[in-house]
Amino acid sequence: MADRPILEINDVKTHFPVREGFFKRHVGTVKAVDGVTLSVARGEVLGLVGESGCGKSTLARTIMQLVPTTAGTVVLEGRNLTSGSAHALRDVRRDLQMVFQDPYASLNPRMTVFATLAEPLLVHGRCPKSEVTARVAELMNQVGLAPRFMQKYPHEFSGGQRQRIAIARALALDPKVIIADEPVSALDVSIQAQILNLLAQLCRQRNLSMIFIAHDLSVVKHISDRVAVMYLGKIMELGPAADVIERPQHPYTRALVSAIPTPDPDAERARQRIVLAGDPPSPLNPPSGCPFHPRCPFAAEKCKPAVPPLFPAGPGREAACVRLDEIGEP
């Protein structure tokens, strides 16, 4: 079954109730993730982009089962995560690991690198106690840290090195899928490149699958095979990374791409920029129909009544816009 995706997300919804007042009256629902269907193949890097509040981090947490799923299924190698017991979930978690954005916050400041990396090995009984030190040293080597720093604490490392420790921790249990939530956003450009190289190399060597979440489209384009663009809890566009970012079809993706400043002064000054007005609408009270229509330069009457599904839009590509044929090439 080589062709079956390693991770399948089927029509997943994550809704949070909003309660107010003394009696905790239910006053509304935040639809953070609202009907997302995605799949990740073995060894594939799927980029997930969108503005803050679009639900990309909630989707990551839903996949990890860190927040309860309202509807839909998350299936890892045929095992349904949403219906499993806590015990079954622990086994699955071994195969599904996460790297967080801020390595200053995601590492325990009171634990040495050794303690941080040995903990998952011991909890999951991955190797006998006598071999833990050797295994930790091996992990450190793999992420480009010298094992002699094993007894140091996180504060003694730079941001880039801390992110390496976080990556080593995610790798400790030989996972099959890594979810990296903005792993390079907090780092400087030169350090960013080092961490991106490391992640790409690890995925290649171990045939790891990765969901790479970022708001920086150029980073996503570089590392991902495919990219999914999210807006207000829904997938707006999906397709091969370079294709989507160089020739975006959905009006939202076009606006997003046009907002990225390019490090090329002549091109930057010559190009037409689509500056979107206002902020994304509140997920508490989303607009009817296409969630993007109130800000869309191409919006028409037919965008308002129903939420558009993903339509095929070229080889391997899909976009959720009813006017794709009418708005022409970007």
Partner: protein, 324 residues
């Protein structure tokens, strides 16, 4: 005469582990109506340079060791505090990176907006409020008449940054210092804020110092760019020259490590090593230990910023000698 001329600014921090030279002999000038970009990685001294000008360096542990900053003939670093106060906040304003921590959460936006006006101009509360409302509308806040009485937490990140900009511009400053004002924002909101700064600058003919680590933002916004490394300026040029014909190896390396400019899937170019410890003496070029072109002399001979073409200066010994 330039609007602001900074000469040989040195700011150090005295800590238990040593004396850190955060800004180590920086000189530059900003003209009226000009946008100067200051680019560098964390710890390169770009923010401390501007904090020194604004009197925001905590002393101790900080200390401004030497230098002058002439703004319209007045030395900001040595004039009496009372005189400095008439300039800072009125004629020079600053916008910070994080609008959540730089607005007072306990005060309504209206109170914070009129504060600079009430301090610097003899103006009634009512008039000040009218000006504040005008300003909020100018920075693109819808329904400003109602929103002005809200608290900061009732605004989104992008809106808060607009409020910060309105606050900075309400006194019609001649110089705006923007310290990574869009780093915490989404690209779409960033585009809005950059457009706003551009429009406001044209309207007021302000000088702008724009601090960022993002070379992409600089390319569209700035007239001139200076690159900082280890508390020093290593290269300065007009934007086109800096992007199309950089001379200093650090500028080139920085440019090469941007993912957008590299072929997809290829190994990204990285700069080996880490920035130097600023508490240790650095006799030569601070970038030498990480530089692929470095020779023996780079480590020992001081590298001075030297103008090699009109308006283009850099601090690479070997490039100055025509060796690279």
């Amino acid at each position: 005469m330039p609007l602001l001329t900074v000469t040989d600014l040195r700011t150090t921090f005295h800590t238990r582990t040593g004396v850190y030279r955060a800004v180590d002999g920086v000189s530059f000038a900003v003209e009226r109506g000009e946008t100067l970009g200051i680019v560098g990685e964390s710890g390169s001294g770009k923010s401390v340079t501007c904090y020194s000008l604004m009197g925001l360096v905590p002393q101790p542990p900080g200390r401004i060791e030497s230098g002058t900053a002439l703004f319209d003939g007045i030395d900001l670093l040595h004039c009496p505090p009372a005189q400095a106060r008439t300039i800072r906040g009125k004629r020079i304003a600053m916008v910070f990176q994080d609008p959540m921590t730089s607005l007072n959460p306990y005060l309504r936006v209206s109170e914070q907006l009129i504060e600079p006006l009430r301090i610097h101009d003899s103006i009634s509360r009512k008039q000040a409020l009218a000006r504040a409302l005008e300003m909020l509308e100018a920075v693109g806040i819808n329904d400003a008449a109602k929103r002005i009485h809200h608290y900061p937490h009732e605004f989104s990140g992008g809106m808060r940054q607009r409020v910060m900009i309105a606050m900075a511009l309400i006194t019609k400053p001649e110089l705006l210092i923007a310290d990574e004002p869009t780093t915490a924002l989404d690209v779409t909101v960033q585009a809005q804020i950059l457009e706003l700064i551009r429009t406001m600058q044209r309207e007021l003919n302000m000088g702008v110092i724009f601090i960022t680590h993002d070379l992409g933002v600089v390319s569209g916004l700035c007239d001139r760019v200076q690159v900082m490394y280890a508390g020093r300026i290593v290269e300065t040029a007009d934007t086109r020259t800096l992007f199309y014909a950089p001379r200093h190896p650090y500028t080139r390396a920085l440019q090469r490590s941007i993912p957008a400019l590299q072929p997809k899937g290829a190994e990204l170019y990285t700069i080996a090593g880490t920035p130097p410890d600023l508490s240790k003496p650095l006799p030569g070029c601070p970038f030498a230990p990480r530089c692929e072109f470095a020779r023996e002399k780079c480590v020992t001979t001081p590298a001075r910023l030297f103008e090699t073409a009109p308006g283009h200066a850099h601090a690479c010994l070997r490039a100055q000698l025509g060796e690279i």
